[in-house]
Symmetry: C2
Subunit: 338 residues, 2 copies
């Protein structure tokens, strides 16, 4: 609706985006407005831009420059996965301080990740930074019929690819001066953009809505709920928490695992809504094809907001807070998480 701004979940970052995008003039060349994962032009070209800033999204005492560059471009490519779009290429803008490793290792990390996906580097910009390393990745793709955040209907089942919470568990370890489990570290340092997975499912199943999990399951489910005008019920016991939560300190009483899975951002898995029975026949072939699980985590309901059911005999509880809120700061800067 003109003037109402895009439908996003709660959170300071999203309130500000809403304000900034409100009262946009009609977008003549575009089919999908600001507020979804990417812009879709009238001829099916999909565009997204994703800004990564040292000290906000990563630290160089946690990961290498190569990993930081690769992670930044994968985060951007994940927006193509969110729409089930086919990649055309990427453009990378990079700013680095004069003291430090220079631009080359960051770009080497970008190149490694896009080369392995066969995605060309189309251009970019290089400049000096007075402080933090800054990397903006622009991804370009194409899609006939984009998968949107809007479209989920009451009764749809909700599915998640892969496992959740690993990236947040790595951050939790680093911020408490610990050393993350290597598998948690890998989830933070080398995430994957689920592009082939999204396209595979899109070809086989009548997906009604979807997006990538960059803000945490709770926050991204809230985006889906708001965009679709529905509520979301998550079943706590079914969430595919990363299996390494069962080892070592990270799980504690188990609440750490659920907290990381719900509120930890940047797992870059997919959250998908589909009518009941659509996905079930494909779960096993999906697992074999991609060595990746596909887990039913809840349902779409009439209503609004995100709710969680911890046991069958309990009442659903409202999930009050969203996931990551980059404008407010990451958890280690705004009160701690995990």
């Amino acid at each position: 609706m003109r003037g109402a701004g895009p439908a996003l979940g709660p959170g300071g970052e999203f309130d500000r985006i809403r304000n900034i995008l409100r009262d946009l003039p009609p977008q003549p060349g575009s089919r999908v407005g600001p507020g979804d994962d990417a812009a879709v032009l009238s001829d099916g070209v999909v565009l997204s831009t994703d800004l990564t800033v040292e000290g906000v999204h990563f630290r160089l005492d946690w990961i290498s420059p190569e990993e930081a560059g690769g992670r930044a471009v994968v985060a951007a490519l994940s927006d193509l996965a969110a729409m089930a779009a086919e990649p055309i290429g990427v453009l990378v803008s990079l700013a680095v301080p004069e003291a430090g490793p220079g631009p080359e290792p960051f770009m080497a990390g970008v190149r490694e990740r896009i080369d392995e996906m066969g995605i060309p580097l189309l251009g970019g910009d290089l400049t000096r930074s007075p402080g933090p390393v800054i990397l903006d990745a622009v991804v370009v793709g194409r899609v006939e019929s984009p998968l949107l955040r809007a479209g989920a209907r009451p009764g749809d089942a909700l599915w998640v690819t892969g496992t959740l919470g690993g990236a947040a568990a790595a951050v939790a370890a680093w911020t408490s001066d610990g050393v993350p489990h290597p598998e948690f570290r890998e989830r933070f340092a080398r995430p994957r953009a689920r592009i082939p997975e999204a396209r595979w499912l899109r070809e086989r199943c009548a997906l009604s809505a979807g997006l990538d999990l960059s803000d945490g399951l709770a926050g991204d489910a809230a985006h889906l709920a708001a965009a679709s005008g529905v509520g979301v019920l998550l079943r706590g016991g079914t969430l595919p928490v990363h299996p390494r939560f069962r080892e070592g300190k990270a799980d504690g009483d188990g609440s750490g695992a659920l907290e990381c899975a719900l509120h930890g951002g940047e797992d870059y898995e997919l959250l998908l809504a589909a009518p009941q029975g659509e996905m079930e026949p494909w779960v096993e072939e999906f697992r074999r094809s991609f060595d990746l699980s596909l887990t039913r985590v809840g349902e779409v309901m009439a209503g609004e907001g995100v709710w969680i059911l911890h046991g069958d005999n309990e009442e659903p509880m409202r999930v009050e807070r969203g996931g990551w809120d980059h404008f407010r700061g990451m958890p280690w800067e705004s009160g701690g998480e995990g």
Copy 2:
């Protein structure tokens, strides 16, 4: 040529871009590779990304947040003018520190400038910065036949729109604790992207090459020369220096004006090459249509590099240094200029 990297002029920033882009795999979806002003996809979609960083490209004690936002998006749109492309829309990524004016005035400046050009905002990203304000503007356009840096031939005449050196003169005044002439300030704070001008000329004249003047006439002429495999001869007496250089301190002995015009970046005028006689019939109508001059500034020669002739009886001198080099730093941080 595969493996040689794109043909850019001299300068530390360009050397690093060359290294980073060398040995790129073939770019299947693109018609113009990295190294020109923008990427051109196979269906004529043009893309460019332009990163603006506080303390590198602007300071908030010089210009307002609104002006900084507007300037950043115009700098990006100027890459569409450079290719004579028609704008489709822009995406803006913004990072701002928690202390400061917040994102709104920067985005208001973006919106003001794109609204006046009728260009839609298609999306973006908002995050927190640990220090400088960071704005990456992605511009999307379309062009049947892009105007490239390559294509200038010996014997072509070289033309420049508008006047040069104003933005650099403003920076020179600020960095020597002065107050710039309001017209110089305006050139820095509110540049124009010469998109209608480029499209008007492209429709009427057989332009052989062109680009926008973001690095300074000397530096951008070097890009054109390198990409076209030619030399460039500039006639010093013909350069359209900003008329306010004739007033006040800024001109001094006149060398300040020439220095700003040759080496001052970010005037965002156009440098165009065309066969002799192509542009002359249109100069007056162009001036009336856009209230903007179109000035012949030199010729394309066989050879390489950029040369300047200060008087008809003198020998051409090699112009040794490029224009702005953002990686090396702006002039006020690397030795002074103007």
